[in-house]
């Protein structure tokens, strides 16, 4: 079945790009307008992107997670949404300049390499849709945490080496970054536990058992273990700080591996169509 021209997706990409430009301006220059404009443009981009996802969903009669392209677009949307939520919660706009390039990259990937025909996957019901969607939300939260922890590590290195440079003063304080990372991971863990729970229900309906030993399932539990360990060490005196951030950043490679290699080549029933 032919997909409609992704007008909304292109518009969303343009709005994300404009928002990114404002975030970068906010990072390098003083003044409130750039920050406010960045957030407003991001909200507009999210709404437009939502319509792009809706358009795609109507054409394939399902939430667009069946192939890597739709799933990438959905991940980009959740990434932007998670970032915006953390921005409002922590009242900190400096990180937009680092989070939005990832959103644009994912959406751009979808726009550039997406095939003209979208695969028609069998409908599996709303619980299945919830299972996949919440897991993608978890991936987006882990992605944001990865960005925050990398910036924490860069700051830690700059301060430790006594070479702060002009850039350091434009970033959020390390304590705030640590808190933002922890909150991102918390959101990811909650979403993933919920997503896995939904997956068990689907599995039970399809195969009669709650847990299949699929590589995707195993790596999801590994992700849970890694990020739970991070949350624990981030509060432990001996590990908090750079070591905990390093663990958070390293855990993200498990997420990337799960989303790409496992989904494309290793998994049986978690494979993209």
């Amino acid at each position: 079945m032919g997909t409609p021209p992704p007008t909304f997706a292109y518009a969303a990409a343009a709005l994300y790009a404009a928002s990114l430009a404002c975030y970068v301006r906010k990072l390098f220059a003083e003044g409130k307008w750039a920050g406010r404009a960045a957030s407003l443009l991001l909200i507009a981009a999210l709404v437009t992107h939502y319509f792009a996802l809706l358009q795609r969903a109507f054409s394939i009669h399902s939430v667009p997670y069946q192939d890597i392209y739709g799933s990438t677009s959905l991940l980009a949307w959740f990434l932007a949404l998670t970032y915006l939520s953390l921005e409002f919660f922590h009242r900190e706009r400096a990180m937009g300049a680092f989070a939005l390039p990832l959103v644009l990259l994912l959406l751009g990937l979808d726009l550039i390499v997406t095939p003209h025909t979208a695969p028609r996957a069998p409908a599996r019901g709303s619980i299945f849709a919830l299972h996949v969607t919440t897991n993608i939300l978890a991936y987006s939260a882990f992605t944001i945490s990865f960005v925050f922890s990398v910036i924490y590590l860069v700051q830690d290195r700059l301060i430790r080496k006594r070479r702060p440079g002009a850039m350091l003063w434009r970033l959020p304080p390390m304590e705030d970054l640590e808190r933002m990372t922890r909150n991102g991971v918390r959101v990811g863990l909650i979403a993933m536990i919920f997503g896995i729970g939904m997956g068990m229900v689907v599995d039970q309906r399809l195969t009669g058992q709650f847990l299949s030993l699929d590589p995707k399932v195993l790596i999801s539990f590994l992700m849970l273990a890694c990020y739970s360990a991070y949350l624990w060490v981030a509060r432990s005196p001996a590990w908090r700080g750079a070591r905990a951030s390093l663990l958070c950043a390293a855990s993200y490679f498990v997420v990337v591996f799960s989303y790409t290699v496992v989904n494309l080549y290793l998994s049986g029933f978690h494979r993209f169509y």
Binding site: E30, G31, I159, R160, M174, E175, P237, G241
Partner: protein, 432 residues
């Protein structure tokens, strides 16, 4: 009628001359009042700080009144005019406006971008305004200068970077811990540097502050001054276990903090991050401490390097600040131009009304042939005709970007600055 400035500052005069020409707050108000009273300025304001003494005023634009202001300053301070040669600067119109905006923005300060001057400009203005020494022009000018100062501070990073060693240390502390109100600090050594650091910590809202010194009395004094808690020198190991920021500024050649003592403290504090600021010369903290996990150590040289970088960064912000100033200078010029054109039109209307009264007065006999109601109607029609004739030219003048120049031409054309017309009933009708 234009803005005039006469002043000296840290660039044009040495500290001795600046001290002689300094105006106390009372003197500043008194001098401004006298300048107005003597008719040398229509509005006047004296801005005097440790780095500058400047007189701002509105003058009619003749050199006589400007020379009069200079003579007044010399006599006020008892200074020979010859002593001021080359030290005084004079600015008129747009140049004077630009100068004040640069002062308020901190561009003319000894330490580029310092924020204190904006408060001093505000205080001087409010005091002069309360005394009724300012008028529409200086009110507008000084309000605009306050806006410029605020914009420069919020829209550029001119005042953002720390320009002293303790201030740079505090900025770093905030970069590590965020808001310092949830953190604690210990100042070891209550000498000059320690006292500065303690004041900075207090100003940044540090949650809890301890001061320890080998002489307990000095620790107590500094703690009292900064709202901290004095601590005996023997309790330094305990302070290391409690405080998130430790500032040392202690005399002597031995390490005040050794690697072993800090390692023990880190164990007690559960490896929580600690920021050590060594302001001592020679150094007080063993540099090997920096290798311990979650310890950030900065010395005077490291902080001085940051201050140097900041100075450069501030200089890079100057073009941005100049752009804001240029924008406000244009705005003020436009306002002044429009305001002067408006005032000229009001004067022109007044003059035409007086001319009408004069005309009617000279033709009283002819007019008295009409009944009173008809006479009133004729005068009202004359007023209507006058308004009708003035309406379009007035609108064109107010919209014209060169309104100020046109207004000057209008004043010359209708002799608005010439002898005043007397109301009818006087013998000659005009002033001699």
């Amino acid at each position: 009628m234009s803005v005039y400035l006469l002043g000296v500052n840290h660039r044009t005069a040495g500290v001795h001359l600046r001290e002689r020409l300094h105006f106390s707050q009372q003197d500043a108000l008194h001098a401004a009042g006298e300048l107005r009273g003597q008719g040398l300025m229509m509005e006047a304001l004296v801005l005097s700080t440790c780095n500058r003494s400047e007189i701002y005023g509105v003058v009619m634009g003749n050199e006589e009144s400007e020379a009069g202001v200079e003579r007044y300053v010399c006599s006020f301070h008892g200074v020979e005019p010859a002593h001021l040669n080359g030290c005084l600067y004079r600015r008129r119109g747009r140049e004077a406006v630009t100068h004040l905006f640069r002062v308020a923005a901190g561009l003319d300060s000894m330490m580029l971008g310092e924020a204190e001057i904006l408060g001093q400009v505000r205080e001087s203005y409010l005091a002069a305004q309360r005394e009724g020494l300012t008028g529409p022009v200086l009110n507008r000018l000084f309000q605009a200068s306050l806006e410029v100062g605020k914009r420069v501070r919020t829209e550029t990073r001119l005042g953002a970077q720390a320009m002293s060693v303790p201030a740079a240390a505090m900025k770093l502390a905030e970069q590590i811990f965020g808001d310092l109100k949830n953190n604690s600090a210990a100042v070891l050594g209550a000498g000059a540097m320690g006292a500065k650091a303690a004041r900075h910590l207090r100003n940044r809202g540090i949650g809890r502050l301890w001061v320890a010194n080998r002489t307990p009395e000095r620790a107590r004094q500094l703690a009292e001054e900064t709202g901290g808690h004095p601590a005996p020198w023997e309790e330094v190991p305990d302070l290391l276990a409690k405080a998130d920021i430790v500032v040392t500024s202690v005399g002597g050649s031995d390490w005040t903090l050794t690697r072993e003592s800090l390692a023990a403290a880190m164990h007690t504090r559960g490896n929580r991050q600690i920021f050590l600021i060594d302001l001592g010369v020679p150094r007080n903290i063993d540099p090997g401490i920096a290798e311990i996990y979650n310890v950030f150590l900065y010395g005077v040289d490291d902080l001085r390097e940051i201050v140097d970088q900041n100075r450069q960064a501030r200089e890079n912000e100057v073009p941005g600040a100049e752009a804001i100033i240029a924008e406000h200078v244009e705005k003020f010029a436009a306002w002044q131009s429009g305001s002067e054109a408006g005032a000229t039109l009001a004067e022109l209307r007044q003059k035409l009304r007086l001319e009408r009264d004069l005309f009617a007065g000279n033709r009283r006999e002819e007019l008295e042939q009409f009944p009173a109601a008809e006479r009133e109607r004729i005068l009202a029609l004359m007023d209507g005709l006058m308004e009708h004739l003035l309406r379009e030219p007035s609108e064109r003048l107010m919209k014209n970007p060169e309104a100020r120049e046109r207004a000057i031409f209008l004043r010359e054309l209708f002799g608005l600055d010439g002898p005043r017309i007397r109301r009818p009933g006087t013998r000659q009708g005009r002033d001699e």
